[in-house]
């Protein structure tokens, strides 16, 4: 099988998974004992108003008809209107998603760079004090709860050191004096491409603490996986062969061994991305970050079922896409994968 046949097969599989997710999401919301029509019209509505709302929302039709309409609209990009904001769900999501993505992507990039470097270093220096210190660090990252870490970061960097803002996405004065033109919806990126330096510095400073908070767990996991995977790779005969031919230690580690060790690390990066998508719900709440997590939390609390379904499908789609990307990257990284 060529690598392209593998790519096509993986993409087809991803589409199938998304279809399944949409179906399950639809059924789950119908099982939950709550009347969306009652939520829609508010708590003081008369029974006939609720009945009217039920007809308007199409909830009086048989389940399979509702399902057909739902799937058709989903594909067309009509994800329904939020019961709370009364705006199309997809618009809401597209408004909140970029700020979350900014947080998640920077957190994962930092976690990957630090995790891989620490992982390689600890594998290379196995058994030394460096190994020990870095492993304590990674265990901390994995085991410390996000909410506690968030509080500690806020106390340390805001209250004690006065270095970084406590929460929010921007300083109100900076935001008024240097408004950011929305292009991608990610403030740091938008400020950067429009050359809005005061706003860039300000949003970057706001990004640091939530980003660190979100990066801690993936960093710890990535480091542990890199370490064990590197230890395995370093024990291989081809490393001995490369040494026997005069390949210097740095090349041995970061090229010969790391490319072999990177498969499991990539898988873990994909998995922690999924973790971060929901992990960011807490972090956004604590740091008052106006992202998808904030939107999801408020939607759940107000029983806003189209919004909940929209967020669920979006998170699932992101998860499927990232794992698809990971699988494809693996196939390009290790030519043996596409064959098996």
């Amino acid at each position: 099988m060529t690598i392209w046949a593998y790519v096509v097969r993986r993409i087809a599989l991803a589409v199938l998974v998304l279809f399944g997710v949409a179906t399950i999401t639809f059924l789950m919301v119908r099982i939950v004992p709550s009347d969306p029509a009652a939520v829609y019209v508010g708590s003081n509505a008369r029974p006939e108003q609720i009945a009217q709302a039920r007809r308007d929302l199409g909830l009086d039709k048989p389940l399979y008809v509702q399902y057909g309409i739902y799937m058709k609209n989903l594909v067309k990009g009509d994800w329904g209107d939020s019961l709370r904001t009364k705006r199309p769900v997809l618009n809401d999501i597209m408004h909140f998603l970029p700020t979350s993505l900014e947080l998640i992507i920077t957190a994962l990039v930092v976690a990957t760079i630090v995790g891989v470097i620490f992982g390689v270093t600890t594998a290379h220096r196995k058994g030394t004090w460096i190994d020990l210190v870095m492993r304590v660090f990674s265990t901390g990252g994995v085991s410390i709860p996000a909410f506690w870490l968030a509080l500690m970061l806020q106390i340390a960097f805001f209250r004690v050191l006065h270095l970084l803002p406590v929460a929010g996405q921007s300083d109100i004065f900076v935001a008024q004096a240097h408004p950011i033109t929305a292009i991608t919806g990610m403030p740091v990126v938008d400020a950067l491409i429009t050359g809005n330096w005061p706003a860039f510095t300000d949003s970057a400073r706001h990004l640091v603490l939530p980003m660190l908070c979100l990066a801690a767990y993936p960093m710890g996991v990535i480091m542990r996986m890199t370490r064990s995977s590197m230890l395995e790779a370093m024990g291989n005969d081809y490393i001995r062969m490369a040494r026997a031919l005069g390949v210097p230690p740095r090349t041995l580690l970061y090229k010969d061994a790391l490319k072999n060790a990177f498969g499991p690390v990539l898988t873990v990066i994909g998995l922690t991305f999924a973790y971060s998508l929901t992990g960011t719900f807490f972090v956004e709440l604590i740091f008052a970050w106006p992202g998808l997590g904030y939107y999801a939390t408020t939607s759940i609390l107000s029983m806003d079922y189209p919004a909940i379904m929209g967020v669920t499908i979006m998170v699932a789609a992101a998860y499927v896409l990232v794992n698809l990307a990971v699988d494809l990257a693996q196939a390009f990284l290790d030519p043996r994968i596409a064959l098996s």
């Binding site: 291989n236 005969d237 081809y238 001995r240 062969m241 490369a242 040494r243 026997a244 031919l245 005069g246 390949v247 210097p248 090349t251 010969d256 490319k259 072999n260 990284l333 290790d334 030519p335 043996r336 064959l339």
Partner: protein, 351 residues
């Protein structure tokens, strides 16, 4: 000594020990070896006798501090490799001395195309442009009998057969023109039919590129087919050394004799001979001659002193009290050439 037979590598009195959980493993006990330009030396012995360790020690590949060389010298063209720094050794590996190993699939990095692997080694040692490195890579592929084309270059190790993989390993090892190749059991993992091809390749490399080789093998037959000289190792020292025909036709050391008798020679399984006993535990090796507990000709002196090499014939040396006595061989210092600074062993050069 003529240039054609100049000494390329000389190992003198190499002693090496490993730290293990159970104690010190006295792995090498005064190894003496010489390899001349363009010569193929067979290093023969049972598993665990120190053949591979000797090879790895030459390249400075043993893990420190677990492995410690306690005495001796490894001279490459007269330069003591044991005195070199890590950085110097790293430059020397792959350029002056290379090594290939038993399992060619495991020896090649699975995630890089073989051409790139060879090219990287070339660029590392020669500092040439990518284009020149590629030409050198194609030449190296051709020299080991692989088609020097883009298809070979772009293939991954798993897309080759076992024999071709070993050829790739050799191309990698010799791409930078190493005059010395240490081949550690290069045919053991291969089919018998492929074995012969690889052994022929070793001969061809010597004939065409003048590559001297140390062929490490447990298979006396393989050594007999390929080597000029043979050195038989037992429990960390060379017990007999000489031209292949000499050593195999007229073995003097009881271990060599026993090893030779273990060859099938067309006998049935029931008639096959073995050497009684097992390879000694090198944490607590036998005193004196390390072979004496298994030796059928053991004498009183054997457990008390380590036998020194005596001359059995021209360029044929054996370290055994029994052989020395029985054959009326004159005990004498081990064969030179010896390092100029080694005391008291500077006579009796082989012709």
């Amino acid at each position: 000594m003529s240039a054609a037979t100049a000494e390329l590598l000389a190992i003198h009195d190499l002693r090496l020990q490993f730290r293990s959980m159970r104690g010190l493993v006295k792995a090498l006990d005064g190894v003496e070896l010489t390899v001349h330009d363009g010569e193929i030396l067979g290093l023969v012995g049972e598993s665990g006798c120190g053949k591979t360790i000797t090879g790895l020690a030459v390249l400075g590949l043993l893990q420190r501090p677990q492995a410690e060389i306690t005495s001796g010298a490894i001279l490459y063209r007269g330069d003591d490799l044991l005195a070199k720094t890590d950085a110097q050794m790293q430059k020397l590996r792959g350029r002056d001395i290379s090594m290939v190993f038993q399992d060619p699939l495991a020896s090649l990095n699975p995630v890089f195309a073989v051409g790139n692997q060879i090219e990287d080694v070339v660029r590392l040692h020669k500092g040439v442009s990518r284009k020149e490195a590629r030409e050198t890579t194609y030449k190296a592929l051709a020299s080991v009998g692989l088609p020097p084309d883009k298809d070979t270059f772009k293939r991954y190790p798993h897309q080759f057969s076992g024999g071709m993989r070993q050829r790739v390993c050799m191309a990698m090892a010799l791409a930078c023109g190493s005059p010395l190749l240490i081949a550690d059991e290069p045919t053991t993992a291969l089919d018998v039919t492929i074995q012969a091809q690889i052994l022929n390749l070793l001969l061809k490399l010597r004939a065409e590129l003048d590559v001297a080789q140390i062929l490490i093998t447990h298979n006396v037959g393989v050594a007999a087919q390929t080597c000029d000289r043979i050195a038989v190792m037992y429990a960390g020292s060379v017990v007999e050394e000489g031209p292949v025909s000499e050593v195999l036709k007229r073995p003097h050391h009881p271990y060599t004799i026993a090893l030779y008798q273990c060859l099938p020679h067309g006998r049935t399984a029931a008639e096959l001979q073995t050497i009684p006993g097992t390879v000694p535990d090198l944490i607590d090796p036998p005193t004196g001659c390390r072979f004496h507990p298994r030796c059928s000709h053991v004498m009183e002196i054997c457990p008390t002193a380590k036998p020194q090499p005596v001359k059995a014939a021209e360029r044929h040396w054996v370290s055994c009290f029994w052989a020395a006595e029985g054959a009326g061989l004159s005990a004498g210092p081990f064969r030179p050439p010896t390092p100029p600074d080694a005391p008291g062993t500077d006579d009796g050069a082989p012709a």
